[in-house]
């Protein structure tokens, strides 16, 4: 910590006259020698005086009139209902309504059994298509692995410099 930083820490108490004789003498000796800290002390005094002279202003009559109106008591139910009416929830309500209408049509339909069968059929078809796809993917992985192995073997046999190995002779 520099001497200036140490004095800065004491400056507010010095201006308030709260320092003991030793610290006060220390600050005063520093201020006599350091123009920067002396200027800061002067600004601190000036800022204190200016803040203390900040005037209070009168609230506008229109504001006073609004404040004097007794606020309505809180109604919890209304507040929670208001929260449900937020515009951001409108798409959620729209989707929920469509789903509810679709579900009630399905439940009330005379062909409910046929619809159930059709849904089951579609689920099974989808499941078997998925199984076929996985089997094909497995086969494809195997053939790609085999092709890669072949490629490595072929590359191993190529001798670009035409050198013969001792073992070849």
């Amino acid at each position: 910590m520099t001497p200036c930083e140490r004095i800065e820490g004491l400056l507010a108490s010095y201006v308030d006259g709260e320092l003991g004789p030793d610290e006060k003498a220390l600050v005063e000796a520093h201020l006599a020698a350091c123009l920067e800290c002396a200027a800061l002390a002067a600004c601190l005094k000036s800022a204190d005086a200016a803040l203390a002279a900040f005037p209070d202003i009168q609230p506008a009559p229109a504001l006073m009139q609004k404040l004097r109106a007794v606020p309505a008591p809180r109604r919890r139910f209304r507040l929670s209902f208001d929260a449900l009416l937020r515009p951001s929830l409108q798409p959620v309500f729209a989707v929920a309504t469509i789903l509810a209408v679709g579900f009630s049509l399905y439940m009330a339909s005379p062909d409910k059994k046929r619809i159930d069968q059709a849904i089951n059929r579609q689920i099974h078809l989808g499941y078997s298509a998925f199984e076929k796809l996985t089997a094909r993917a497995g086969a494809l992985t195997d053939s790609l692995g085999a092709a890669a192995d072949n490629l490595f073997v072929s590359l191993g046999k190529i001798n670009p410099l035409g050198k013969t190995d001792a073992s070849d002779r």
């Binding site: 800061l40 601190l44 803040l51 007794v70 606020p71």
Partner: protein
Amino acid sequence: MELEAIIRDCLDGNEGAWHMLVDLYAKKIFNMAYQFAGSVPEAEDLTQDIFLKLHHALPKYDFGKNFTAWFLTLAKNALIDEYRRTKWEKKQRDEFDDRFYAAASATTGLAADDPERGLAEEETRRILWAGLNALPPDMRLAIILKEIQGKKYEEVADILGLPVGTVKSRINRGRLQLAKILKDRKESAHDAL
């Protein structure tokens, strides 16, 4: 009528008592909000919000406690909450309005006697007003309560719900920060001449 009686009448739904309570505290709360937010329209909205919160919180008031400190704590919480909610991204505070100048000349009366000194004081006030925005909200409120509104350290500590020592060091750091801002601005103005 005593404050306690006014509060009891407010709780009984007496409209006149509510008017008295508003008249007693509106100026204090409005100025606290104005000095904190730096704008008259924002201060008006905040003052309304604080009085609305007071009306709802009044049934919870403990008559054994100091009402002013309790109410100012409620106001402080509302101001800090609003600051954190909106972040008040505005970097500059509004210029002083006419009411401020009228009140300033009425309290100091210096501008008329010594125009040069009056201008210098006005410039200092402007720098400090803008400088308040550079302080963190907790420190700014402590400075407003102690240095501008003239409360004692113990009262500020009571309102902020902090130990006196913490409040004192927070205020001293804030004062020093404002003094540095003032010094820098004065030096740069001097260099520009």
